[in-house]
């Protein structure tokens, strides 16, 4: 038992050392750094389009790299690719398993992926002969539900799962290239860096982890939340991480100085965050909550500058298009709305 005690003491002392090291580099707070920046006036976004067509709760949506196309997944067992400007459905893909929890659009526009309680990630080829959309690959290896998936390119995809791991797959061969293990709770969401060299994952162990895709190592573990981290995203410059949690707060962490910079919270908001997305410049943070609203935060001043109210049930997913012109929200009331 003596050895155990020694190890325990060593672990504790190292943890204290980290806290000291981090404090040593915290020579200023966000409040001081932005004292000179002008305040953002009230932001009012209105619903420009409502995309109707799903028959059950919408669990996920993802914008494509093109300017107006997005894909959404709903528990009625359909994956719909929308042309949001005209509200046409470009493709309506029936799924083998209706318990879908996530969907993703490849940056090239050729592929879409989805997964859920079937523990598999199914990849569909949109560029099939004579317009038929068929399953290209079924990536099965997770032992828990698929909570999120994101394409790195047309040949690689990263998935996060309820079995606490994330996996990088080679799509052509359908095999796992790297398994990223380290979380102690279900991985709920993931985000890929703008330079595609790393990714972040948020889990039910109240932490977010930053991983290097090539090495397979976890480079940062960010803690501070008091409940499950449901939503995660990179700050547009690639050095910051935004997380949203069931404890009704969002946090901004910085990777280079290894600090938690700011918490976005308000006494009137008690419902958990389900999804978040930063605007193109990073000044605005749009976060969807369980209380059917989306709150718009000023990322620098940590104040609410707007509300998007229009859904009749929980907002389950949110995304900002690649040119930053519009934001799309999907909800359990089976509608997607485009706001601008």
């Amino acid at each position: 038992m003596g050895e155990m005690e020694q190890l325990r003491k060593e672990a504790e002392s190292l943890k204290d050392q980290i806290i000291v090291a981090r404090k040593g580099f915290a020579d200023t707070t966000l409040q001081e750094a932005v004292a000179g920046t002008a305040v953002v006036s009230r932001v009012q976004l209105k619903t420009r389009k409502t995309l109707r067509g799903h028959l059950a709760k919408i669990y996920a949506m993802h914008w494509g790299a093109g300017l107006t196309q997005c894909v959404s997944a709903s528990q009625d067992g359909k994956l719909i690719v929308w042309d949001t400007l005209s509200t046409n459905k470009v493709n309506a893909i029936p799924l083998k398993s209706s318990w879908v929890m996530t969907c993703a659009y490849a940056p090239s526009g050729n592929l879409v992926a989805c997964g859920g309680l079937d523990n598999m990630c199914s990849i569909y080829n949109l560029k099939g002969k004579d317009g038929n959309v068929k399953v290209m690959r079924e990536l099965a290896s997770h032992t828990g539900y698929l909570s999120c998936c994101r394409f790195v390119s047309d040949s690689e995809i990263i998935t996060s799962s309820g079995d606490c791991t994330c996996i990088l797959w080679d799509i052509e061969t359908g095999t796992e290239k790297t398994i990223f293990a380290g979380h102690l709770g279900d991985c709920m969401s993931l985000g890929v860096a703008p330079d595609f060299k790393s990714f972040i994952s948020g889990a039910c162990d109240y932490t977010a982890k930053h991983w290097d895709i090539r090495d397979g190592n976890c480079t940062h573990t960010l803690s501070g939340h008091e409940s499950d981290v449901n939503a995660i995203g990179f700050f547009p410059n690639g050095n910051g991480i935004l997380t949203g949690s069931d404890d009704a707060t969002c946090k901004l962490y910085d990777l280079r100085s290894d600090q938690e910079l700011i918490t976005y919270q308000d006494a009137t908001i008690m419902c958990g965050v389900t999804s978040l997305a930063p605007s193109l410049s990073g000044r605005l943070l749009l976060a969807g909550y369980d209380d059917f609203n989306v709150n718009i935060w000023d990322a620098l001043k940590a104040e609410r500058v707007g509300v998007l109210a229009g859904h009749d049930n929980r907002v389950s997913c949110i995304g900002v298009s690649s040119d930053g012109m519009a934001c799309c929200t999907g909800s359990w009331d089976s509608f997607l709305k485009i706001w601008n």
Binding site: E3, M4, L7, K15, I18, A21, R22, F25, D27, T28, L30, A33, T37, V43, G64, G66, T68, D83, L85, S86, N88, W99, S108, G109, N110, K127, S155, G162, D163, C164, T173, L184, D186, D195, C204, C218, T221, E226, F235, P236, N237, N239, D246, A248, D254, R256, Q259, T268, M270, G272, S279, L280, S281, G282, R283, L284, G324, M325, I338, N340
Partner: protein, 486 residues
């Protein structure tokens, strides 16, 4: 044999709905006799029931407490009603807070949404049976359906359920009338929250269950500690930057991109989402000849921005050609093709790159230091996706430090700035907007856009860059001719 039906949405794993604690704190504040919400008595024919609240009082109290406007106060109040902390006395099936004189009452803590125990179907069956005893045919349609279902699959317990229902009914009759009315209302409200009528949105709808129980403590073996120690040591040794530096970078990024953020600044000529006119996207398409001023300006923000825009790369390529160092950009683009292409073509592409850029005497030899060259050539024997990473990074930094700055001052870039289009803001009238909406066409599929881009790329390569060996051989021939003539 016990049949354990656990439909508790992960409640057994950990406090699933983290907001309940916060709402409970708020409810306790509201119930404070001095500083809470004013209550009044409700008259119900002959009986009077105390402690009823009006909707508008609740909204006003919340608005004052949190310093928000009435609409938001109403939203917060509706959330409390949806969770079942306050229930309406009239119209009890609609769980919303109306900010008028309609009456509400606080729910007793026994009936608050619990986190310690799940809501049992057995209790629901007892409740429905009790109501059936009181007056046959009083159950609603959906309640009747549920009752029949429960009768079917709780059949093994049915005697127990009926007995409990009769007991509770008898005990209820012995209470005084006002207490009985209050208790009936409370129980009815509880079941509206936890067994909502069809078509209504339930706050207890928590979606799919979580898999892992994070409250399970991992057994603390020495291996567990060793892992923590290694991870923590690596974490400490990682280089850190002062937070003022990284905060400065974040603020700088936000300020630089502020005018390009469509949510914060207006878009020229007009936002297609607002006016249904796709002119903005046409002017900014990937294959256009004269990019807009905003786009040209973005190339000055960072080298990465320049390289990610195909037009930006075109201009840079032209500049490098004039400086006779276009092989750098060509190498960078070839490396990107290897990284993101299909796995089957990696080998072939890597060989091509070696022959064109890296081999001694190669036609487009790139200038990298000896060590990187050695590592890369060795790696090329067993090529994989990232085999050219080191060389690519070297060339990227070379271009960034040396060429990028000079490009931005070069005549090529100035030419782009001169030719940049400055679109006028549209000024549509109502009728024109309606016309635009009618003319809305579906946008081009990104697959087609990609194909167009690839076709352009292929055209460019066909009209290819000058092959130095050919030039040299031509010069040699000319010299030989001259020699021959002499």
């Amino acid at each position: 044999m016990t049949i354990r039906n656990v439909h508790d949405c992960g409640q057994r794993h950990r406090p699933r709905v983290a907001c309940l604690k916060k709402v409970e704190a708020l409810v306790l504040e509201m119930q404070d006799p001095t500083s809470g919400v004013k209550s009044q008595t409700q008259r119900l024919v002959i009986t009077t029931i105390p402690h009823a609240l009006t909707g508008e009082d609740v909204v006003a109290w919340i608005a004052k407490r949190f310093n928000v406007d009435a609409a938001e106060g109403c939203a917060i109040g509706t959330m409390m009603v949806a969770f079942g902390y306050i229930y309406p006395l009239r119209d009890h099936k609609r769980l919303i807070l109306k900010s008028d004189a309609s009456l509400y009452r606080f729910q007793t803590p026994y009936f608050w949404p619990a986190q310690q125990w799940p809501v049992e179907d057995t209790d629901y069956a007892i409740y429905l049976a009790k109501r059936n005893i009181r007056k046959n045919g009083v159950l609603e349609l959906h309640e009747q359906e549920q009752y029949n279902n429960l009768h079917k699959w709780l059949n093994h317990k049915w005697d127990f359920i009926v007995m409990q229902a009769k007991e509770q009914y008898r005990a209820g009759k012995e209470r005084k009338k006002p207490d009985r009315v209050v208790f009936d209302c409370q129980e009815r409200a509880y079941w509206v929250v936890h067994r909502p009528p069809p078509g209504s949105v339930s706050a207890m709808d928590l979606g799919l269950l979580r898999l892992i129980d994070p409250n399970q403590e991992e057994s603390e073996t020495s291996d567990y500690f060793r892992r923590i120690i290694i991870f923590t040591e690596q974490c400490i040794m990682r280089p850190r930057v002062k937070s003022s530096v990284s905060l400065g970078a974040i603020v700088k990024y936000i300020t630089t991109y502020k005018l390009h953020d469509a949510f914060l600044s207006p878009v020229l000529p007009s936002n297609p989402w607002l006016t249904d006119d796709p002119a903005y996207w046409d002017l900014n398409s990937l294959t256009i000849d004269n990019p807009t001023r905003m786009r040209v300006e973005r190339w000055t923000f960072s080298f990465g921005e320049l390289l990610s825009d195909p037009r930006g790369r075109d201009g840079f390529r032209l500049f490098l050609k004039k400086e006779f160092s276009s092989e750098n950009l060509a190498f960078w683009e070839a490396c990107e093709a290897v990284k993101w292409g299909t796995a089957s073509t990696i080998h072939e592409k890597a060989q091509q790159i070696y022959k064109t850029f890296l081999a001694r005497g190669a036609p487009r030899w790139i200038n990298i230091d000896g060590k990187t060259m050695e590592v890369t050539v060795r790696g090329l024997k067993h090529p994989h996706r990232y085999v050219l990473d080191a060389a690519q990074t070297h060339i990227y930094m070379l271009m960034k430090k040396d060429k990028y700055g000079r490009y931005l001052k070069s005549p090529v870039y100035m030419d782009y700035q001169r030719r940049a289009t400055d679109p006028e803001a549209h000024n549509f009238t109502e009728t024109q907007l309606a016309q635009n909406a009618k003319n809305r066409r579906p946008s081009l599929s990104p697959i087609i856009l990609r194909q167009q881009e690839e076709e352009q790329q292929a055209k460019l390569e066909a009209s290819g860059p000058v092959d130095l060996t050919q030039v040299m051989s031509k010069l040699d021939k000319r010299n030989m001719l001259k020699e021959g003539q002499k």
